[in-house]
Amino acid sequence: MSAGADHGTKPMMDQLIVQSLILGLLQGGLYALLAVGLSLVFGILRVVNFAHGEFAMLGSFAAVFAVTSFGMPAWAALIAAAAAGALVALITNVVVLRPIYLSRMRQKGEYTIIATFMLSQFLIAATTVLFGTTYRNLPGLWESNLNFFDYVYLSGNRLVAFSAAIVMIGTLFWIVYRTDTGRAWRALTQSPLGASVVGIDIHKYANYAFLVSGAFAGLAAGLLAPLMFVFPSSGVVALVKAFIVVIIGGMGSIGGALAAGLLLGVVEVMGTIFVASGYTDAYGFALMIAVLLLRPAGLFGKMGRAI
C-alpha cells in the first residue's frame, strides 16, 4: 500500500465510524418510538400485540392520503398518521382484545398473541386489496440531504424524525410519571384488581394506553415514511424491530425501550458497515439473545410488571 493510500484510508475510516455512529443513533431513536407503544401496552395489560406494526403501517397510509388526496401539509400528515394509528389501536382493544384479557379463560396471553397475529395478517391483506402494492412516498418536513463539512451526510428528514422521537418519548415519560393517567397506568401494572377497587376505571385507562400506543406507532411510521416507503407489509419489519427493542430494554420499560432502541440502531449499522453487510437483522437478534442469556428480564426490565 502506498503512503498516499494509507493517509487517505484512515481519515476515511474515521469518517465512516462517525457517520455510522450518527446513523445508528438516529435509526435507534425511531426503533425506540416504534417500541414504546408496544412496551406500554404490555406493561399495563400484558398484551403482546402482534398487530402493532400494522397500526404503524395504517398510520403511514393515512399520512400519504392526507397529503395526496386532501392536500394537507407534511406536519398535518403526521397528525393524521397518529390519529389513524390511535383509532385502529382503540378499535382493536375494544373489539378484539378486551374480550380476551377481561375473560376468565386461561392462557389469555396466548389468545391475545393469536388474535393480534391474525389481525395483523388481515390488515396487511385488506390494505393490499384496497390500496395495491405500489410503493408510496411521503414528503417530509425537511426534504434536504445535508452535508456536514464533506464528513457526515444525513437527510434532513432523518434528523426531524429523531428529534420528534425523542420529544415524543419524553412526553410519554411525563405522562407516565407526572399525570393522573400515568398514575392509573402504574397502578394497573401493579394490580388490576387493586386498581379497580380504588376506583380506577380499567376500561378507560386501557383505552388510553391503546390510544397512546397506536398514536406512537402511527407517528413513528409517519416519520419513517419519507425515509423509507409506504406499502402494505411495511409494518412487518417495524414490528420485529420493536419486539427486539422491547425484549432488550425490558418488557414494559419505556426508558429501557429508548436505551435499547439506540443500542440496536448502533449495533445494526456498525455491524453492517464494519463486520459484514449481509446480516443486518442478525446483529439485532444476536444482541437480543445475548441479553436474554445474561439478563433475561432485559437491560432495564424487572421480573414483575412495570412501566
Binding site: 406499502f231 411495511s234 453487510s277
Partner: protein, 395 residues
C-alpha cells in the same frame, strides 16, 4: 324477539373464517376437456407483487384471446392461478397443487429465481414442463432439467453484456450491491467472473438482506469507498430505496439498476430528484423489431389495461405461445408429451422467431436468448422509456 337470529361472537367468527376460506382457496374445478395451465406467481407480499400483478394481467389476456379464437386444438384453455408469495416453500407447494389438483399441463408465470429453482424439483418429479422468463439465475437452465425452459435473459449473459458497458464508460471502481437471493448473488458471482476480462477495474460486492427497508448503512459503506459506479441487483423495496438513500448519505457514483425497474410507475414518485442520472439496462427500445404477434400483444394489452406492457411481459407471452405450439404439434396436453415436444418447438415470438438452444451441459439448455441489451439514462425527473437517453447498446 326482534326478528333476527341471535349470533354469538364465536358463530360470527366461524362464519367469517369460512367465508374467507372459500374466497381464498383457488377454484380448481375445470371441465374435463379443458386444457389447464398453471400460473404460479408472486401475488401477495412478501413476494414481488408489482411484477406478479403484471404477470397475471398478461396471462388473463392470453387466455381470453386464445379462447376467443377457438382455444387450442379445439379445446378451451383455463388458468389455474396460485400465489407463491415469493417464498420457496409456498411456491413449491403451490406448484405441486397446480399439478396434482388442477392437472395443469404446464406451469408458467414463475418469477423469483430462488422460488423457480425449488419448483424445478417438482417439475422434474412430476415430469411437467416449467417455463421461466425473468428468473435470471443461471441454475434455472444450467441444471439441464428436461422439464425446464426459459425464454428470457439469464445472469451470466447479462453480466457479460455489462462488461463492455463498464469499459466504455471508463469506470475504474465498481460496486455490485446485491440482495441475498439466487438472483442477486447469482448476478454478483457472474459479474465477478465476467469482469476478470477488465483487470483495470476494481470490483467489490456488497450483499444485503433482500427484504430490508433501510440501506443507509450499506450505502454509507459504499459511498465511503468512492466508487465510479454502483450496480444495484434487487427486486423488492430496496430497488428505489437504494437510490434515494444512496444520495442521502453522499453517494456520488453513477447508479446502474440491475433491471428496468425505473420504468415502473412508482419510481419517480418515491425516488424524486435522486433518480436523475440513473442508468438502467433494458431489453426493449423503440428501435427494437416487434413482430406481428408482438404488435398484436401490445395493441391488445393497451386496449385491455390502458398501458404498454413491459418487456418481461413479452417474454411471458412467448412462454404461453411456446406451450400452445407444443400442444398443437403433439395434439396432446399431457405434460410428458409437452416436455418431449418443447425442445424442438419453433414459432414466431413477440420480437422474432423463438426456438430453444439445446446445448447439454451448459446454461444454454432449453434456453432462448436472442435479445439486445440497451443501457438508458434518466436525465430529468419524470423521464420514461421514450425520454431516456440511449447511452449504450449490446447486441
Amino acid at each position: 324477539m326482534n326478528g333476527f337470529l341471535p349470533l354469538s361472537r364465536r358463530a360470527m367468527l366461524a362464519t367469517l373464517a369460512g367465508a374467507a376460506a372459500v374466497t381464498i382457496l383457488p377454484t380448481v374445478s375445470f371441465a374435463e376437456d379443458d386444457i389447464v395451465l398453471g400460473l404460479v406467481s408472486p401475488l401477495s407480499e412478501p413476494g414481488d407483487v408489482r411484477s406478479g400483478e403484471a404477470i397475471k394481467k398478461t396471462a388473463d389476456l392470453w387466455i381470453k384471446k386464445i379462447n376467443e379464437a377457438g382455444g387450442i386444438i379445439g379445446r378451451k384453455v383455463k388458468l389455474a392461478v396460485y400465489d407463491d408469495q415469493g417464498k420457496v416453500e409456498v411456491g413449491v407447494s403451490a406448484m405441486e397443487r397446480a399439478v396434482t389438483e388442477a392437472n395443469a399441463s404446464a406451469i408458467l408465470g414463475v418469477w423469483s429465481s430462488s422460488v423457480t429453482i425449488g419448483q424445478m424439483e417438482v417439475a422434474k418429479g412430476y415430469d411437467v414442463p416449467l417455463l421461466a422468463f425473468y428468473s435470471w439465475s443461471d441454475e434455472v437452465t444450467s441444471k439441464n432439467y428436461p422439464q425446464v425452459f426459459r425464454i428470457g435473459p439469464y445472469n451470466s449473459q447479462i453480466a457479460a453484456q455489462m462488461v463492455p458497458f463498464v469499459k466504455e464508460r471508463g469506470y475504474k471502481k465498481v460496486v455490485v450491491l446485491a440482495e441475498d437471493t439466487a438472483y442477486g448473488l447469482g448476478f454478483a458471482k457472474a459479474f465477478e467472473e465476467a469482469a476478470k476480462s477488465l483487470p483495470e477495474v476494481s470490483l467489490e460486492v456488497v450483499q444485503f438482506q433482500a427484504q430490508t427497508q433501510d440501506l443507509t448503512a450499506h450505502m454509507s459503506k459504499i459511498a465511503a469507498s468512492q466508487p465510479d459506479a454502483v450496480i444495484v441487483q434487487t427486486v423488492f423495496a430496496a430497488t428505489n430505496l437504494s437510490i434515494k438513500q444512496g444520495r442521502e448519505v453522499g453517494l456520488k457514483a453513477e447508479i446502474i439498476t440491475g433491471w428496468d425497474w425505473p420504468l415502473l410507475p412508482d419510481f419517480w414518485s418515491t425516488v424524486g430528484d435522486a433518480g436523475v442520472g440513473v442508468i438502467y439496462p433494458t431489453f426493449s427500445d423503440p428501435s427494437m423489431t416487434v413482430t406481428k404477434v408482438g404488435q398484436d400483444f401490445i395493441d391488445s394489452y393497451k386496449a385491455a389495461y390502458g398501458s404498454d406492457p413491459a418487456i418481461f411481459q413479452y417474454y411471458l407471452w412467448d412462454n404461453f405461445n411456446a406451450v400452445k405450439a407444443a400442444i398443437e404439434t403433439t395434439k396432446s396436453s399431457a405434460p410428458a408429451d409437452l416436455v418431449k415436444a418443447l425442445p424442438d418447438t419453433k414459432f414466431e415470438g413477440t420480437i422474432g422467431p423463438v426456438f430453444f438452444r439445446n446445448e447439454a451441459g451448459t446454461v444454454n439448455f432449453h434456453q432462448w436468448d436472442k435479445f439486445a441489451m440497451f443501457f438508458k439514462k434518466l436525465n430529468k425527473v419524470g423521464d420514461g422509456e421514450a425520454q431516456a437517453e440511449l447511452v449504450y447498446v449490446v447486441k
